[in-house]
Symmetry: C2
Subunit: 215 residues, 2 copies
DNA sequence: CGACCAATTGAATTGATTCAAGGTCCGTGG
DNA sequence: CCACGGACCTTGAATCAATTCAATTGGTCG
């Protein structure tokens, strides 16, 4: 595991989500730890329990098959909470994608805490179910369109998408190969749906065309 | 929607799962309703809230894309609870697969109820995450092997698998076409891994071979 | 500048799908 | 009791989307 830096951050963070705020008030929020690129937050088999709040940067939640194929089950961005698991130990592992600041939330056993956690879990639930549809029933083009629209939405922009992760990560998230990701982007570029400002920055020229691909 | 029969069932049901038992005691369990083949339990857009306990039979949880492709996100068998959702209305719909007895559990607001629900949600969570790996990173053969082993495990048998659902359902669960499902079964049959006792009954001759396919 | 890693692009291959033709099972009615 | 019809399943052949393998380009850092 790579090194990790701890530093104190002013009590007020930039979290807007009321649900997450409430969760923070009902737990003992620790300091923000900085995880460099590719640093592991927790490994498969680690004891589960504490929750993690992304303050900045991006985290990937992954699982490996026995022969090394990887599936990224979700990306967590600033404001997202992760680490929730069923058993006593993590079935999945979490890594920093691009250098991420992460705060540990240690659950207090206050009344209503389970309730908040439940809300959080249910929300993630919905996301995962639509990801099942994506993986099971969508073409490469549709997957990418879906992914870009999701990022657009999360980043609150209406035409610029920042890609904090590399092609390989996108591929393992969408159930494709990185070559296919590259090719799909090229197709979208050729159709004038997007423009590649740089390798990690996409301008969406025709959001309607993307939306048309999705449904 | 198809007709549905209500009939009273003795208070003691056959549920063994302690988690589910506790849940029943903390809610107002209604009578068992019988849903015939393909009957809808709830539709997309219906108000969410009550939970459903499968007493017997099988239920499928589905979502459709705009152009009618279907993804079955999970099958629920006797003892499983479903109906948990994030928002106020169902994003997915639930149907009886083979004629199912279903009990409605109306949540009381007792302390600890959220806690029980959380446990339930987290368990389902884990299942869904491994289904993501299956859909995103496995070949047709691996998917089917995984599916059969899961059924074997759930049905508590060590060599007979009953298939309550038809090929189409299996396909939509595994992200395949029904023709592919048929062909994969043929391959497994030819390799003497399974035997098709009948169309809805499979004898597993070589569970190790199945396991070898999975990991 | 050179080394290295990521991304792109091309060509060949393949796994799964699509389309189409039978086959099996089962319930219904003559 | 058997013939018929319909739904489901199986199988085959052709097609296609995505992968694999391989070569090249682009970008970054010492």
């Amino acid at each position: 595991m790579l090194s990790q830096t701890t530093f104190q951050v002013a009590a007020s963070s930039t979290i807007q989500d009321p649900e997450v705020c409430a969760l923070m008030q009902q737990s003992q929020p620790g300091a923000v730890n900085f995880y460099p690129v590719d640093a592991m937050v927790y490994a498969q088999g680690d004891v589960a329990g504490p929750l993690y709040l992304v303050e900045f940067g991006t985290v990937r939640i992954c699982q490996l098959t026995a022969d090394g194929r990887r599936q990224i089950t979700s990306f967590c961005y600033a404001g997202d909470v992760f680490g929730l698991e069923a058993g006593g130990e993590h079935e999945f592992y979490a890594e920093s994608v691009d250098g991420a600041g992460i705060r540990v939330l240690r659950p207090t056993n206050e009344a209503g805490f389970a309730h908040r956690l439940l809300n959080l879990a249910l929300r993630r639930f919905g996301r995962m179910q639509s990801h099942l549809v994506l993986l099971g029933r969508m073409s490469a083009n549709e997957k990418m369109a879906h992914f870009l629209l999701d990022l657009l939405d999360r980043q609150g922009s209406d035409d610029i998408v920042d890609l904090p992760m590399q092609r390989n990560d996108i591929a393992d998230y969408l159930g494709l190969t990185f070559e296919t990701v590259s090719r799909v982007l090229r197709v979208l570029k050729d159709r004038a749906v997007i423009r590649l400002q740089s390798v990690d920055r996409i301008e969406v020229l025709d959001a309607d065309a993307l939306a048309a691909l999705v449904d």
